[in-house]
Symmetry: C2
Subunit: 205 residues, 2 copies
């Protein structure tokens, strides 16, 4: 198979980021996650923090707009007049996603990259999910979330990701038809999941 652009969407705590990193090493292609934020921030003049918060805040964009104030990030500079802060951040991020995809095969985690790149023929979309129990253990270990808050944090973050995707796309986050491959990472673990995605991509004719 020719090398492709791989997008990974993932439930919170399922290990999607780690799986994406491992996959990019197996495929020997660049990996994008926070890199996208940094590049988008530099290009558009938005503060990096604003991009980091965009996905979290999309769940409540009206309150967010009020709370942030329309001029906090110098919105006049970015050139999307008449749009909300969220929409401007999304457009700036989408521009960067298209740019790294134009540069060649890579792995991109999150940020609606499957939707942003939907018109390309060389994109493979992956979804990673896992049982709540597995994600609770990972949330405690990886993100140092207290056990009593873990389940609530996970479900809230999933809801935010779904809202962010559903708001910016004309589809639904986690719709099985949108992914070439969806895997439960708790079945065989992080390493196994990355290996199976690699096999799926490279064993095809």
């Amino acid at each position: 198979m020719e090398k492709k652009i791989i997008t990974i969407s993932r439930q919170f705590g399922s290990g999607g980021r780690k799986i994406g990193e491992k996959l990019s090493r197996l495929l020997d292609v660049p990996y994008y996650d926070n890199e996208i934020i940094s590049r988008a921030a530099k290009e558009s003049g938005f503060a990096e923090a604003a991009f980091e918060n965009a996905e979290k805040k999309a769940a409540n964009s009206f309150l967010y707009s009020i709370a942030m104030g329309l001029n906090t990030f110098g919105v006049q500079d970015i050139g999307f007049t008449g749009l909300s802060i969220d929409d401007r951040i999304f457009l700036a991020q989408s521009k960067i996603i298209r740019q790294v995809a134009d540069e060649g095969p890579c792995v991109i985690v999150g940020r609606c990259s499957d939707y942003v790149l939907r018109d390309r023929q060389d994109v493979v979309n992956i979804f990673i999910c896992a049982s709540l129990d597995f994600r609770i253990e990972r949330a405690i270990e990886e993100y140092k979330i207290p056990r009593e808050k873990a389940a609530e944090t996970i479900l809230k973050n999933d809801k935010r990701r779904a809202n962010y995707y559903n708001y910016h796309s004309d589809d639904k986050w986690g719709n099985v038809n949108n992914y070439h491959l969806s895997l439960r990472s708790d079945f065989g673990g992080i390493e196994h999941t990355a290996k199976i995605i690699y096999k799926f991509l490279t064993d095809a004719e």
Copy 2:
């Protein structure tokens, strides 16, 4: 990995049946599809044809009940009084599914088997989907459906499968969270898809 019970749910024309057969040969375990119908029919005293039609007719169970007439299949014999024909057929099928699962590792295609076996810990649920174009070509080749009717037939059958599942379970057909692995069979073809499922199952610790 210890051998498991594998259920396969599939969009119409995605090749789920062929993939299930290939997988059962790779795993060296029994394969159930029409076998379930036959066994259920023999045990319950229903005519085999009634079972074959159950999935198709669930979309319209009220009209179906009227059209079939309540005594056509000797419903008194089966022992589920106060239930519709559809519900009785579903219960008889579910009994057979639980029975073959009790007998040991196997591959079961369709008939809400993932839902029927939801309380077992040794079940792995797979979902097979594919692009409409791929399914149209397969529908023409495999089922001899005329090209001009292929898309409509596929979408109608998918709707019937979804209705059947959603009616009999408390969940939604094609909900990504319910499957350990979901694959687009058009990505690498039927053979490739069966191989990847096999790897997913056997490479896990």
